[in-house]
């Protein structure tokens, strides 16, 4: 019985990781890739870790697995935010089928300040047409 639970948890876990990987390959722009992977993988690995806690079923491993999951959930979105923000800042373009970009013109190049509205100092704002990443 326990073996089956372990098996199921591990299977779902591995599958979500696989989806994340496929998503990473298939998604057309960086933001979408970040978006897809952050959660699928986190969830997947979380499930795998659950399966190990079931297998070992001792306080030591359980608490460890718990901490790992906690950590992943705490840090993954922050990472996603940081990379996403940096991508936008360095001018990674959105997929051409994207429907809107309300962030346009709100970052200031020099101060890195993000404004909530587009103001009258556009020359300092991040402009994607002038940058490319190398």
């Amino acid at each position: 019985m326990i073996d089956i639970i372990i098996g199921i948890l591990a299977t779902f876990g591995a599958l979500f990781v696989l989806f994340a990987a496929i998503g990473l390959v298939r998604m057309p722009d960086t933001y979408l890739r970040i978006s897809v992977t952050t959660k699928a993988a986190t969830l997947g690995v979380g499930l795998v870790l659950m399966s190990t806690t079931v297998y070992f079923s001792n306080a030591d491993v359980t608490s460890q697995a718990f901490v790992i999951i906690l950590f992943l959930f705490l840090t993954a979105p922050v990472s996603a935010h940081l990379i996403g923000r940096a991508s936008y800042f360095i001018g990674v373009k959105l997929w051409d089928k994207s429907v809107m970009d309300e962030l346009r013109g709100k970052y200031q190049k020099n101060t890195h300040i993000l404004k909530s509205v587009v103001d009258d100092t556009p020359e300092d704002n991040v402009d994607h047409t002038k940058m490319e990443d190398k």
């Binding site: 591995a14 994340a20 990987a21 870790l49 991508s87």
Partner: protein, 90 residues
């Protein structure tokens, strides 16, 4: 098929195939941000691999490594994105 064989011959390969896919994205890019995402994901996958491996070999001590990976992986992402922003500032 025992649980160990299942984990060994199915789950672990699925995880490493994912890793290969992630590596493909890492190499392809195109943006440096993609690479950072891929690296981050690769480490996460690694945590999964270690967890499964520790079950297969019944070695709970290997989980400590997974723990460290989880704790620390975050930092390189922070650092790399920090760099991405900072180098534009001039």
């Amino acid at each position: 098929m025992t649980l160990f064989e299942y984990l060994h011959y199915i789950i672990l390969p699925v995880l490493v195939v994912s890793a290969v896919l992630i590596l493909w994205r890492f190499i392809k890019g195109p943006s440096i941000a993609d690479k950072i995402v891929a690296l981050d994901l690769l480490i996460t996958t690694g945590i999964g691999v270690i967890a499964v491996y520790s079950v297969i070999y019944n070695q709970s001590t290997l989980m400590d490594t997974a723990l460290i990976l989880a704790l620390i992986a975050f930092l390189s992402t922070v650092a790399l994105s920090y760099y991405l922003e900072k180098r534009r500032r001039k």
